[in-house]
Amino acid sequence: MNGKIAFFGGIYNNYLALEAAIADAHGRDISQIYCLGDLGAFGPHPDRVFPLLIENGIQTVQGNYDHSIGHALEDCQCGYTDPRDNHFASLSYAYTLENTSPEYRHWMKQLPAEIRFTWQNRSVLLCHGSPRKTNEFLWESTTSTAFLERLADEQDADIILGTHTGLHWHRRLENDRHFINVGVLGRPENDGTTNVWYTVLSVEEEEKTQGNSSVSVEFIPVRYDYEKLAREMEAENIPEEFIETIRTGWWTTCLEILPAKERRAGKY
């Protein structure tokens, strides 16, 4: 494969942001789009996400949510431990499970837990949380570089991409290896802005070292009609706390899992 490739993180039923991101990627000469899983949760009308992924040929990794919905498990396996966080997670899980058709549940059940390929002579590994555990949270402020180097060695990968935490970040490792959290399209990043994020990888030819190239990681903000999404969430009786996040860009739930630096960056 050649050229630029794009990566979408958790969609969380946000089909409007997904549409906007697909349109944005098409304007950037992207050769292939991948999605790293967690298609449901949070937003309205789960079934509107799948046709967009399928019709646009978006290869998708199975997130913990997709595994849960696919197998109709009791909970989302998000990995929260706080009772309030779990309360809100269970409301949105019940809604998504009830409103996902059997056809798409079956589709999700068969998604792979990881995808590997070679791109620009580099081995690329796509996972959901971490390569060793689907629902592992790898936060920027609690993941040492030494650990990521070990992960890249153990997995024999030059570029590892994940999502799951909801916040994008990038760590450059030795020998032009990379760990990248691609962000999510499902909800804003707890920074008071309403846009969501996806990631584009490309290679840059280096003039000084003839013939060598290095990986370039670009995080792309996506603006979409969040007001329309918020109104649809209201119409579906989705909890007010989730709608506030869509309208304000501040997280109101699932906060107790955040490490100190990430927590301080938010409002609540």
Binding site: Y80, T81, D82, P83, R132, K133, W139, E140, S141, T142, T143, S144, T145, A146, F147, E149, R150, L151, D153, E256, I257, P259, A260, K261, E262, R263, R264, Y268
Partner: protein, 295 residues
């Protein structure tokens, strides 16, 4: 005699430093390793030893670091140790919050701001009132710890208040709500709480009860169990005597794993009653709260 399962060492993710050994300025009734001002069963770690172990840990790809004791801030080299560790990874300090000094916190605030990693404080308080906390932790310890929390907030930290569950589970929501209200009254506007189960050993064994012989894990109980819920699957603790399997079991003979980190990366047999608590509640030593076991 029950058969004991063993837990494989999957990956050394968290490294703990028993930085003040069993020395503590307090003498809490429920302390699982009976720390006190005079218990020197385990002593202080030196700065040089922590740096040596840190170097080995980076080679092994450790993800996170924890400082515990006793009371870690009794070790006069703690602040420079944290400053060094924050250069390579995230740090959590478990403190009783009663001996904090403003100039230490100022230095640590700067160190965290200059690091890409988080510095977390876990402050132990065992109830939302002096009436509930002080009989367990000692006279006036509630007020002193609350003052410590206020000081941490002043320097921009968001301490995790760590509470040992000494109440019935049906009282939990009311107690935690009251805890949040008290912390807000003292200027901590988004309180983070972590609830710990009681470990029925050390001081707690005398205070209430110990483990019965049946509170042990059998091989059958491990079938289908997510072994990563157990700390011994991905952590080790450095003491002044060597490397032990986890911070709960440092006093146990079976928990001594060797001199170097590399030597310590072997399977561990789940022989102890405390292993049963860890199995029951899961991840009891991680920063997020462990799960509540429904009655």
């Amino acid at each position: 005699m029950l058969l004991q399962p063993t837990v494989p060492m999957a990956s050394l993710d968290e490294l703990w430093f028993q930085v003040s050994g069993t020395l503590c300025n307090l003498k809490c009734e429920h302390c699982f390793i009976s720390c006190s001002p005079v218990n020197d069963t385990f002593g202080y770690l030196s700065y040089e030893r922590v740096m040596r172990m840190l170097k080995e840990s980076v080679e092994l790809g450790v993800k996170e670091y924890y400082f515990t004791g006793g009371e870690p801030f009794l070790n006069r080299e703690l602040v420079p140790m944290i400053e060094q560790v924050l250069k390579v990874g995230p740090v959590t300090v478990l403190t009783n919050g009663t001996v904090l000094k403003a100039d230490w916190l100022k230095r640590l605030q700067t160190a965290e701001q200059n690091s890409r990693y988080s510095l977390e404080f876990r402050v132990s308080i065992d109830g939302p009132t002096p009436e509930m906390n002080d009989p367990i932790r000692g006279e006036r310890t509630f007020q002193r710890a609350i003052n410590g929390v206020a000081m941490l907030c002043e320097y921009g930290f968001l301490p995790i208040i760590t509470i040992t569950r000494t109440w019935e589970e049906n009282e939990e929501d009311a107690i935690l709500d009251s805890f949040r209200a008290v912390l807000k009254e003292h200027g901590y506007h988004r309180p983070r709480l972590k609830v710990l189960p009681r470990l029925k050993m050390g001081g707690e064994e005398k205070r209430t009860e110990g483990y019965t012989p049946l509170e042990r894990i059998t091989p059958e109980m491990m079938e289908g169990f997510d072994v990563s819920q157990l700390l011994c699957n991905h952590s080790r603790v450095v003491t002044d005597r060597g490397v032990a399997v986890c911070p709960i079991l440092i006093e146990s003979e079976s928990a001594q794993m060797g001199e170097t980190l590399k030597e310590s990366l072997v399977d561990f047999p789940l022989l102890e009653g405390a292993c049963y608590t860890c199995y029951q509640y899961g991840s009891i030593c991680a920063n997020p709260s462990s799960k509540k076991v429904e009655a």
